[in-house]
């Protein structure tokens, strides 16, 4: 029986150690707000955290990436206060949250519009969603198939870990796989830069990353703009969320209120997204 007693003591000790590590009576005095999730929302969250902490030095805001799914899982597990997400919460996640006694509350903090861009010399000015899907899945490989010049299409995409890739895949491709020979880029800027240098290229970037060196094309006859994204007329628009467990309170509420304030919304715009107000 000695063995069992020893093992029991080990379990007890490690359990206590975990509790202490988790932030028990030895935690710091500063209030903590932890954000985790979408890499798309990450720049907004980081910029807001920086300014918010300058105005509220008693609050320590930690921002982590990982993706929307990771953030929502952490909110359900209780390891973050705010889950950043570039998509609405899934039914399976909601069920899990409810099972765990959580009630995710959505707050829309900004809108994101994904613009399809081509080289300025390209004569194609508009594409349908079906054509875009055809180009990105490999069914269409030459601009002449969509009314353009006889030139091979060079497909450029974000890397699969990005929220923009996920959103584009859902909104434009119905979750179909991007053709394997697509050039994967690590940022919106990299895509815009590559498209501006490649005549046959097509890519996609957030609305805020449009530059004069690339041409944004109409999608299903609608031009990408703040207005068309906000009124849901543009097909490649989506809301960006911050989810909390129940109604936000205390520092969490103050932080979200700051993002929704005129200053916060200005910062949203500066980060390349569509402000709500």
């Amino acid at each position: 029986m000695k063995v069992f007693k020893a093992a029991g003591l080990v379990v007890l000790f490690l359990g206590l150690a975990l509790q202490v590590y988790a932030g028990g009576p030895y935690g710091e005095d500063r209030e903590k707000v932890i954000l985790e999730g979408s890499t798309t929302v990450l720049p907004i969250a980081q910029a807001a955290a920086e300014t918010f902490m300058m105005k509220n030095p008693q609050v320590d805001v930690t921002v982590r990436g990982g993706g929307s799914g990771v953030g929502i899982a952490s909110l359900i597990d209780g390891t973050c206060d705010i889950a950043n997400s570039s998509r609405p919460i899934k039914d399976t996640e909601l069920d899990k949250a409810v099972t765990n006694g959580r009630s995710p509350k959505a707050c829309v903090i900004a809108m994101d519009g994904i613009c399809v861009i081509v080289h300025p010399s390209n004569s194609v000015n508009a594409l349908t969603m079906k054509q875009i899907k055809g180009i990105y899945t490999g069914a269409i490989s030459n601009w002449s198939q969509v009314g353009g010049p006889d030139k091979k299409i060079v497909v450029i995409s974000r890397d699969s870990s990005s929220g923009t890739f996920e959103a584009f895949g859902t909104l434009a491709l119905n979750s179909a796989k991007v053709r394997p020979d697509a050039l994967m880029q690590a940022s919106n800027q990299a895509i815009a830069s590559t498209v501006s240098r490649t005549e046959g290229a097509i890519g996609y970037v957030g609305l805020g990353y449009l530059t004069p060196e690339v041409k944004a094309i109409d999608v299903d006859g609608v031009k990408a703009s703040k207005e068309t994204v906000l009124n849901n007329k543009y097909a490649l628009g989506r809301p960006l969320f911050m989810y909390t467990n129940g109604e936000p309170r205390d520092e969490v509420k103050e932080f979200i209120d700051y993002i929704l304030s005129p200053d916060g919304q200005k910062m949203v715009e500066e980060q390349g997204f569509v402000r709500l107000k």
Partner: protein, 425 residues
């Protein structure tokens, strides 16, 4: 205040519309657009109110707030599966193959008692004498000679679970193995331990998580003679997120047994070392490190998933005259394809090599399909699973096993191929 009132009214409208017309949400959008057109709301405010309202209603429906079902039904989940298998086995030296069609059916409920507690009860096909299999053979089984005989149903699991917070889970009863195992080398997946499990988990930061699984397994309990056999297992481990696509899980299990050495063997065909009185010669206190490296879209997305995994087991309590070769075992393998097969056209292939020394682990636990579940063996296993649709798949599983003892009538090489049709609900 204006937005709050509008949101409240819209939420009420959406809720009232539940079960009336699915297109009502679209009409909410039209209403919001009218408010924008009249200059009462900005487009951004309308977007915010509309989206948040829909999300709120979704959440409340999920929470059962608007469900007409009784609360106890909302808190109870029914789950189960069915498997139809055709199996062919060949053993060197035998003139005939052994072929059989088998079925497995499992049904269980899990009911939430309150926010922290739940109970699970499940039944399955099988026999009370074989805890490592829930298969029943179609047609004549063994010496039975009754076509279309009824098949027996046994209690597969029954447990209570207490989870006061996300870091701690207590389970008591007969339950699914709470120790993490990347393979079934040491634990047949049908074997449900009986006793108590305590699982601790803590996310340390964005990359590291720690867990510790503890199991007390009452293997044999006879209070009159005090002939008790028990296992205590402790398994600390970590999850490490290398990057967005790569995750490593590693754990070290330690097993302690009481009431095994010198006691009667648990089964008729034991491969562990026995005394002349058919009692276990050694104890089976052992160390078992395990790992699983999961990589999403490796080789530039050539396959969606690659898993590399392995186990090692060493019996620290088996002493002379047992040899080192008898005391250790290991397996190593890879899985590639889709991470999980849950829908049409998803697939996964696995290949694994394994070896178990005669006294590396107690021989009542390993996978019963690999060289008949014996120790003192080495084997190759290859599996291919293909999704036939949502929650249904076809599986081909091939085993080739040989005994580590080179001679003797019970040590012949065996090969088994199984073709399974799985359906889950």
């Amino acid at each position: 205040m204006k937005n709050f009132v509008i949101a409240l009214v819209l939420a009420g409208l959406v809720v009232l519309s539940l079960g009336v017309r699915p297109s009502y949400a679209g009409e909410i959008d039209l209403l919001l657009q009218k408010l924008v057109d009249k200059g009462i709301l900005t487009p951004g405010e309308a977007q915010q109110i509309g989206t948040e309202t829909k999300e709120q209603v979704k959440q409340e429906i999920s929470a059962g707030k608007y469900s007409s079902l009784p609360q106890w039904i909302q808190n109870t989940k029914l789950k189960g599966d069915f498997r139809f298998r055709y199996e062919n086995g060949q053993e060197e030296g035998q003139t005939q193959d052994s072929s059989a069609a088998r079925i497995r059916a499992r049904v269980g409920i899990e009911s939430k008692i309150n926010d922290n507690m739940k109970v699970g009860i499940g039944v399955a096909t099988g026999t009370t004498s074989n805890p490592r299999s829930t298969n029943v053979t179609l047609g004549n089984q063994g010496t039975a000679n009754t076509p279309a005989s009824f098949k027996s149903i046994i209690l597969d699991y029954a447990y209570g679970q207490y989870t006061p917070n996300n870091n701690f889970t207590f389970i008591g009863g007969k339950f699914k193995n709470s120790l993490w195992q990347p393979t079934d080398l040491l634990w047949d997946t049908d074997l449900n331990p009986e006793g108590v499990a305590i699982n601790l988990a803590q996310k340390l930061n964005n990359r590291w998580s720690f867990f510790m699984n503890n199991l007390w397994f009452a293997m044999k309990n006879d209070t009159r003679s005090d002939a008790q056999s028990m296992m205590f297992a402790i398994q600390p481990g970590v999850d490490y997120t290398v990057n967005d696509k790569t995750n490593l899980r590693a754990a070290m299990a330690g097993y302690l047994f009481t009431g095994v050495q010198g006691k009667a063997k648990f089964n008729n065909w034991a491969t562990n070392s026995l005394s002349s009185a058919n009692t276990y010669l050694y104890n089976y206190n052992s160390l078992n490190p395990s790992f699983l490296l999961s990589i999403k879209e490796p080789f530039r997305g050539l396959v969606p998933y690659l898993g590399i995994y392995g186990d090692y087991i060493y019996n620290v309590s088996a002493k002379h005259p047992s040899s080192y070769a008898d005391r250790y075992g290991f397996d190593a393998g890879i899985a590639f394809g889709d991470e999980k097969v849950g829908d049409w056209k998803q697939w996964q292939a696995k290949i694994m090599y394994s070896k178990l020394g005669r006294d590396s682990f107690l021989d009542i636990f390993p996978d019963s399909d690999r060289y008949s579940g014996k120790t003192n063996m080495k084997a190759i296993e290859a599996i291919y699973e293909f999704g036939l649709g949502k929650s249904t798949s076809f599986v081909l599983d091939y085993y080739y096993g040989t005994s580590l003892t080179k001679s003797g009538p019970n040590n012949m090489p065996q090969q088994v191929i199984q073709a399974d049709w799985n359906l889950k609900f």
